[in-house]
Amino acid sequence: MKLDTQLLADVTAFLNIEADMLDNKEYLQWLDLWLESGLYIVPVEHNATDYANTLNVAYDDDEMRKLRIERLTSGDAISTQLGEKTVRTMSRFRILDDIDGFVRVRCAYSLYENNKNGLRIYPANLQFKLVRDGGSFKIAEKIVKVMKSSEHLTTVNYLF
């Protein structure tokens, strides 16, 4: 199997920026990473495929992403007022395919959260569909398969 190490490096660099923006709550810049038709999905069941007709933890189109960012930043939501600190790490990047301008990539992801209840860890498998945009990418789809999402999570006040 021949590896396209340049594509892997480009994708990894882009996804590191995406995660860094979320950790640093640069939400407006984060919104700019998206295609307007893009979908941000946190499924409940990891074997689901028809996300539109299945209950998800989150299923955000452009409008819902903007509303969510407004909620996270307005100060109106009592759960966001303490502004939990998060640290995201990613590894095990793998390009799944590169077809018709869309690059699908999968990686391992851990989100560490510190709040008044202590330190919480959410491991997940992340899957992106990226489209080339000049020298960078836009996100066409981000699917976050958080471990235990079908069993029980806690409430969260950020984006996975």
Partner: protein, 428 residues
Amino acid sequence: MNTEIKVKNLNSTADLVLEDRVHKSLYSNPEIFDEELDKIFNNTWVWVAHESEVPEAGSYKTASIGRQPVIVVRDRKKNIHVMLNRCRHRGATVCEGKSGKTKAFTCPYHGWGYGLDGSLRALPKPEEYENILDKAEFGLVKVRTESYNGMIFATLKDDLESLDEHLGGAKKWIDLFMKQGGGYPLQTLGDHRFRFPGNWKIQLENTTDAYHFPIVHKSFIASVDEEAAEVFDFLDGEGYVEDLGNGHSVMVMIPELVDLEENLDEPIPERFEDLAKSLADEGHSDEEVRRLVRAVGGSGFNLNLFPNIACSMAFFRNLVPISANETEIHHIAIGGKGAPQAFNQKRIRLHEHFQGPMGFGTPDDGEAWERVQAGSMAGTDGWIMVNRGMSKLSTSADGNVKGAVCSETGMRAAYQKYKQMMSVESGK
């Protein structure tokens, strides 16, 4: 008003519940929690499933009665059974996972096999049990089960009143709630599950607490259009809370949406115009479009059924006590079986918008509940007040105690039932 009632003069948990207040130790004392499992969850009808969660022969769902794991299953004859999830040999669970479909339950430890009705069918190397084990006596332990309008309840208490008597005045409201399939039978559409570090009664109270809505859910209200925000601005409206007896209560927030089969000629709300158009484009009649659109946002009330289930506007809220200071909540989405895809899809999106771990509503509820649990630890003595609206009670058309929509009438109803059950001596 005397706010200095000293708990040291009280003798039992039941004494910690007064008409207008409950003692804060009810949220955190592990001995009280164990007593609740014994006297409440082991002694009443506990909701375990909606019938649509076990639609076919072999469909099962795992659930719990208090902390006891049970299996809800539909057998080959389509009868529903609730059974303790415990092999009769050495005690292993015979069923894992949330739900699924199976032909039988097989213990993973030594291979004892049970039928869908719980009967012990076969076990490996039976010769060592010759003359000492009658398979007919070693089926999975069945739990008494009764249903009302699709809601399946189970009880460990064989001589308990019927489910029909237990639900009493709540049945009328269950019937109304089930109309939100929009002309189709109600069907569950998956669930959100999350845990919060707090006592189960904090959630029980919350389902009948309209008072918090404009405060806690300010960011949710900001995320909907003006017309919807007006619908949710119900504290000054004509809503009310009724004590339905047996710990049950209903909180009507939006009286216009009590009966979803009425007022079908009302204008289509702007936020549902796209749905109405896509339903019409699919060829649905104007009457059907109106029925579906009226039902899509759910009912205008929360029905709180003591102790563990609520029919809450547009979903089922099932609470599972984990420990004195931890509770698991299931927000179960519902729609119509066989209803147009656009209708069920809209209901799913509305559910995701407010409910669950990343909803625009639930995390703020969770924050308030966590603060209650943490704050209730302050001081060596202290009370939680549930007296709001006590001086302005009236009698409803059904003869029930009735208070304003933001009164704490529903909480008092639940706590008086709690007090009655906790007053019974253990083992009775």
